[in-house]
């Protein structure tokens, strides 16, 4: 068939435009920004803006519904002289440190068990995720009943079994209240460790274990020299995430104790909320919230460097 040169010539400009657009889109620099764009915009709007606005607020004497007055670091200086602030700091670190150790060891144990072959394994995995899936506000209500001295099933069992004469005051005693919150947070957070570490465990080739077994390694040695080195990066990442989440834990503490008794369970997030939203001191509330930042920054930078070195 004869081809008319004109027919070939006409589409040329359109094809040129297409190829230009496609060409532009296919450039790595453009395409990557197109893909990153929505995420970056989201982060700017919902993370960066509130974060920098928080810093801005913390430098102001800013009361609710009133214009702020720049006070520099005065809010932080006030906090440094407040005994409750130091109590809250101590509470936060105790809460985060103990729950992290418990969740890490418990989650690792959970992952190791879930990595074994046994009947009903998939069902067990699904059930173990439940604490993480159920909305915190709902599960906290259940815990409220469990820890209630009058209606507590734990107290009921202990009293009926003759272990104790009268029920424990799980939320009225300062030490028990913190202990109770740690238990509930561990219960809720352990599946996150368990499932994430399980994913890490499943990447380990069985050849490595077989080779170690042939070399006469015991099960402890296999864990120490095969399992642990392989899952270490996952372990560090999951710990970092968990520490960040736990530092910011709010719902559970607010619903169960609201920081009581006598501030024994107040942490940065709950205290910041009370000062910012209930006292109307938005500047001071932001300063309290930002007080977590140095600890988190050191942790994140430290772990990131460690991971890079590894």
């Amino acid at each position: 068939m004869a081809v008319r040169p004109a027919t070939l010539a006409r589409p040329a400009p359109l094809a040129g435009r297409r190829s230009t657009l496609r060409g532009v889109l296919e450039r790595e620099g453009v395409f990557s920004w197109l893909m990153l764009g929505p995420g970056v915009l989201f982060l700017l709007a919902f993370v960066a803006y509130p974060f920098f606005y928080g810093i801005f607020l913390s430098l102001e004497d800013r009361r609710v519904a009133s214009p702020g007055i720049f006070v520099g670091l005065a809010n932080f200086a006030t906090l440094a002289h407040d005994a409750v602030f130091w109590q809250v700091t101590r509470n936060t670190f105790v809460y985060v440190a103990i729950t992290t150790v418990l969740k890490l060891t418990g989650g690792l144990g959970m992952a190791l068990v879930m990595n074994q072959a046994f009947r009903g394994r998939n069902l067990a995995r699904a059930f173990l995720l439940l604490p993480f899936i159920v909305p915190t506000a709902l599960s906290t209500i259940a815990w409220m009943w469990i820890l209630d001295p009058t209606f507590s099933v734990v107290n009921w069992l202990l009293v009926r079994a003759g272990v104790i004469a009268s029920g424990y005051s799980f939320l009225g005693n300062a030490t028990l209240a913190m202990g109770s919150l740690i238990v509930v947070n561990t219960w809720r957070g352990m599946p996150f460790y368990g499932i994430t570490l399980l994913a890490g465990l499943q990447t380990i080739s069985s050849d490595l274990y077989e080779a170690a077994a042939i070399d006469g390694a015991t099960s402890v040695q296999r864990f120490r020299y095969v399992t642990l080195p392989v899952i270490k990066p996952v372990l560090i990442i999951v710990t970092m995430f968990s520490v960040i989440f736990t530092f910011g834990d709010f719902q559970l503490i607010y619903a169960l104790t609201h920081g009581g008794p006598a501030n024994a369970t107040h942490v940065f997030s709950t205290w910041a909320f009370d000062i910012g939203m209930l006292a109307g001191q938005l500047g001071m509330g932001a300063a309290v919230a930002l007080a977590i930042l140095p600890a988190l920054a050191v942790l994140i930078v430290g772990l990131t460097f460690y991971l890079r070195r590894e």
Binding site: A65, V84, T150, N173, A174, H258, A262, I275, L278, Q281
Partner: protein, 424 residues
């Protein structure tokens, strides 16, 4: 009022507003929203949302909506409304919130004056809560009183036929009742109302004060405070149990209705719920005024009110609605639906039929005479809110109850209050 001209101008505008009434709203917005914290009395909310609002809608053509906020969440909601300058036109306020949100609220002095003339006068003690710089910033519809709620049968069994009139007598009764297996349970934890509801009155009744009228002189470090703290420690140890130190507002209700405690400090919601769900307990439940101490008897004010936010597109329309709502024809029916949960601050309602069906609610009306705002006699300031939000007073008493020395707990509270009130 500075001049006669200003007085005449105000009077004329009040008269004009009264004459126009709800009709003014007909030319105004197509819709308005009222936001309030859910009441413990469902019928009260229902009457507002399902009867009063549709009536006003029919009258004016304005679509009226009601937004309910969960109990304890209204201050946060109000903060977001004021900060974002968006949302409902009419919002509930309580405690000292009109002072906190002063710059975001419309002056409703004209309405308050008008209502005061018709069904008032207003109780004197409401001015501290609702009037900011001589301007009414909210219109109270009632007080959620905090009184002693007790089991008449167990008190009688312990030989106490009349509710004790003094804190010492209540302590004596509590000793007997605890021995009989019926301890008291007064909240000492971080709830939002039942803790301050009895601890401020206790402090005041012993002559203690947080801060002076000037809002600068911290007075907490006094012999009177020490006596109140010492009493509280004995009261806790001899009549209660450890868990009250961690209680929030739901716990004493649950515990009373679970027949675990014989006396607590609460609003009338315990009896209301008992009548509905536990009629046998309701039969043996009654209310008593807070006992008096060496320096008198006190109660707490929690004046729930309506305020108009100043970003409302048409404040005049919002005012017209409130003028209609606070007319006796509406207000009377609405209050009656509330089971006497709200004690009105208007003397015209002192003998309102709302008090007739249930005489056991009468102490809530009586308590208004001796009711004061949190932090009294200090001003209803931002500092007061900070003290309340930081539980300074509650923790002072709670720490003493758990075993800290009186001197230490007062010193700690004094240090906090000096920082909050920026006192030297």
């Amino acid at each position: 009022m500075k001049t006669r001209r200003e007085f005449l101008t105000l009077t004329a505008s009040v008269a004009a507003g009264a004459a126009l009434g709800p009709r003014r709203a007909a030319a105004a917005p197509k819709a308005m929203t009222v936001v309030r914290e859910s009441s413990f009395i469902k019928a009260f909310d229902d009457y507002f949302a399902k009867t009063l609002l549709p009536e006003y809608e029919k009258l004016t053509g304005i679509k009226m909506s009601y937004e309910a906020v969960s109990v304890g969440g209204m201050l946060t909601r109000l903060t977001t409304i004021a900060e974002t300058k968006s949302g409902p036109e009419i919002a509930m306020t309580a405690i000292n919130w009109p002072h906190l949100f002063d710059s975001s609220l419309v002056d409703v002095t004209d309405l308050a004056t008008e209502i005061g003339k018709k069904i008032g006068p207003w109780h004197d003690n409401i001015f501290d809560a609702a009037v900011v710089n001589k301007k009414w910033k909210a219109l109270p519809w009632g007080n959620i009183g905090q009184l002693e709620v007790y089991r008449t049968d167990w008190f009688k069994e312990a030989g106490v036929s009349k509710f004790p009139d003094s804190w010492e007598d209540l302590l004596a009764a509590g000793r007997l009742l605890k021995k009989a297996g019926h301890p008291f349970g007064f909240e000492l934890g971080h709830g939002f109302g039942d803790n301050h509801g009895w601890l401020y009155p206790l402090l005041w009744s012993y002559g203690g004060r947080e801060v002076d009228k000037d809002g600068k002189t911290v007075l907490i470090d006094s012999d009177e405070t020490a006596k109140a703290v010492d009493f509280c420690r004995r009261f806790y140890r001899e009549t209660m149990f450890e868990d009250v130190l961690g209680w929030t507002d739901v716990n004493n209700n649950k515990s009373f209705l679970g027949e675990q405690i014989s006396c607590t400090n609460n609003a009338s919601s315990i009896l209301v719920v008992a009548k509905r769900d536990f009629p046998e307990i309701a039969k043996v439940t009654d209310h008593g005024l807070n006992p008096q101490g060496p320096k008198g008897r006190f109660h707490i004010i929690n004046a729930v009110s309506h305020a108009i936010v100043n970003h409302a597109p048409d404040p005049a329309a919002a005012k017209a609605f409130l003028r209609w709502l606070y007319d006796d024809k509406q207000m009377s029916r609405w209050l009656a639906s509330g089971d006497a949960y709200y004690a009105p601050f208007l003397h015209g309602y002192d003998n309102h039929p709302m008090w007739n069906p249930e005489p056991r609610y009468l102490p809530y009306k009586e308590s208004l005479k001796t009711a004061r705002l949190h932090g009294w006699p200090g001003p209803a300031s931002h500092a007061l809110s900070e003290s309340v939000a930081k539980y300074v007073l509650v923790d002072m008493f709670a720490k003493a109850c758990r075993g800290d020395s009186t001197k230490d707990v007062i010193a700690s509270a004094a240090a906090q209050l000096k920082q909050i009130y920026k006192a030297k």
